[in-house]
């Protein structure tokens, strides 16, 4: 059974954008089992902008699952933003998970906003000033939650959804100097701690689409400026990660035989 996942991030909605995505979104019931939103749903995190998101992405005929992004935090109205989205039937994940039944296959989605810190060999450490330690601890805590949310799901297919990037691969095109503000290897480590099938993120507008974690999990940057369409659609084919020793091993095994 193929699972069809539609995804986009960084749509930055306000009144001026409402209606732009809707014609493409109306096709979703025929083309996807679920729509995932990879954060930065609003322009700067107001309740009224969240209502625009609810208008645009509510009542689509497919489940909609979202994480928030840094823009959605800017105005300190996160509880109101989440309430408005949930009232529209959008599931918001913050270090949590949801399992959907896709015609008999249990699709587990674990999501968290994530945070910065950088990547192996070029990352921030929990050392020095309180502000620096707080920065790294924030990422550590969120990554820990994401790992638990991924591992604890009882499902057939696992997908990780974040706003910040779990690998540097999908940042190619961004200035290397700002990588530490675009993601963290700790998110990748959390994703690799479970048999994850696919990891989706946004945030890096000038980045690139494809990458993999050190553990071999496919990563896709679905930021709207990167995919340049209303959403991307991914078809996940069995056997799923966890049912085998993983995609990389499965390919090697068939190559040997």
């Amino acid at each position: 059974m193929v699972i069809r996942i539609a995804a986009v991030g960084d749509v930055h909605l306000d009144q001026d954008v409402v209606g732009r995505f809707r014609p493409a979104l109306e096709e979703l019931p025929d083309t996807a089992d679920v729509l995932l939103l990879a954060g930065d749903l609003t322009r700067h995190g107001t309740e009224s902008e969240a209502r625009c998101v609810a208008t645009e992405f509510g009542g689509l005929g497919v489940p909609v699952v979202a994480v928030l992004g840094n823009h959605d935090y800017h105005c300190d109205e996160v509880p109101a933003v989440i309430r408005v989205l949930e009232d529209a039937g959008i599931v918001v994940l913050e270090g949590t998970n949801v399992v959907l039944d896709c015609t008999g296959v249990r699709l587990g989605i674990a999501g968290a906003k994530g945070f910065g810190g950088g990547f192996a060999g070029r990352c921030a450490s929990e050392f020095g000033e309180p502000e620096m330690k707080d920065f790294v601890r924030t990422t550590s805590a969120i990554s820990e939650q994401l790992g638990v949310a991924l591992r604890e799901m009882d499902c057939d297919v696992r997908v990780a959804l974040t706003h910040y990037a779990p690998v540097p691969d999908t940042l190619a095109g961004e200035p290397p100097e700002i990588y530490p503000f675009l993601g963290s290897y700790l998110l990748g480590q959390a994703i690799d701690s479970a048999p994850t099938e696919l990891a989706l993120h946004g945030h890096a507008h000038a980045g690139s689409e494809r990458g993999t974690t050190p553990g071999g999990v496919r990563v896709r940057n679905v930021a709207h400026p990167v995919i340049k369409q209303a959403y991307s659609v991914f078809h996940l084919h069995p056997p799923y990660a966890g049912a085998t020793a993983g995609k990389v091993s499965a390919v090697s095994a068939s190559g040997i035989s």
Binding site: D16, Q229, A230, H235
Partner: protein, 92 residues
């Protein structure tokens, strides 16, 4: 030489101006755009990137001209397309 250029209004924009415009576009909540690059050319600043609506592009130009009226600005900002995908990615 630099002084004469400055008096003639032809002094190239400096690093601080680049940083100031970048921060203005992010921190002004009417804009809140982090994806616009600010590039210095010989005698002007080029704003490049993609936004979600034509109004946002106009607002960016209006705000930068209002705040830095002495700086020649070139805008090369596009709208991000929102068509439905014509292809899917098969992940096996």
């Amino acid at each position: 030489m630099a002084k004469r250029d400055a008096e003639a209004g032809a002094e190239p924009p400096d690093d601080y101006l680049e940083a100031a415009i970048q921060r203005l576009l992010t921190e002004n909540t009417e804009i809140a755009e982090q994806g616009i690059t600010v590039t210095r050319r010989d005698h002007s600043v080029v704003l490049c990137g993609e936004v979600e609506s034509a109004q946002r592009r106009e607002e960016i130009l209006r705000l930068v001209l209002e705040r830095f009226p002495q700086v020649p600005v070139t805008v090369d900002i596009g709208l991000i397309r929102t068509q439905a995908p014509t292809e899917v990615e098969e992940l096996r």
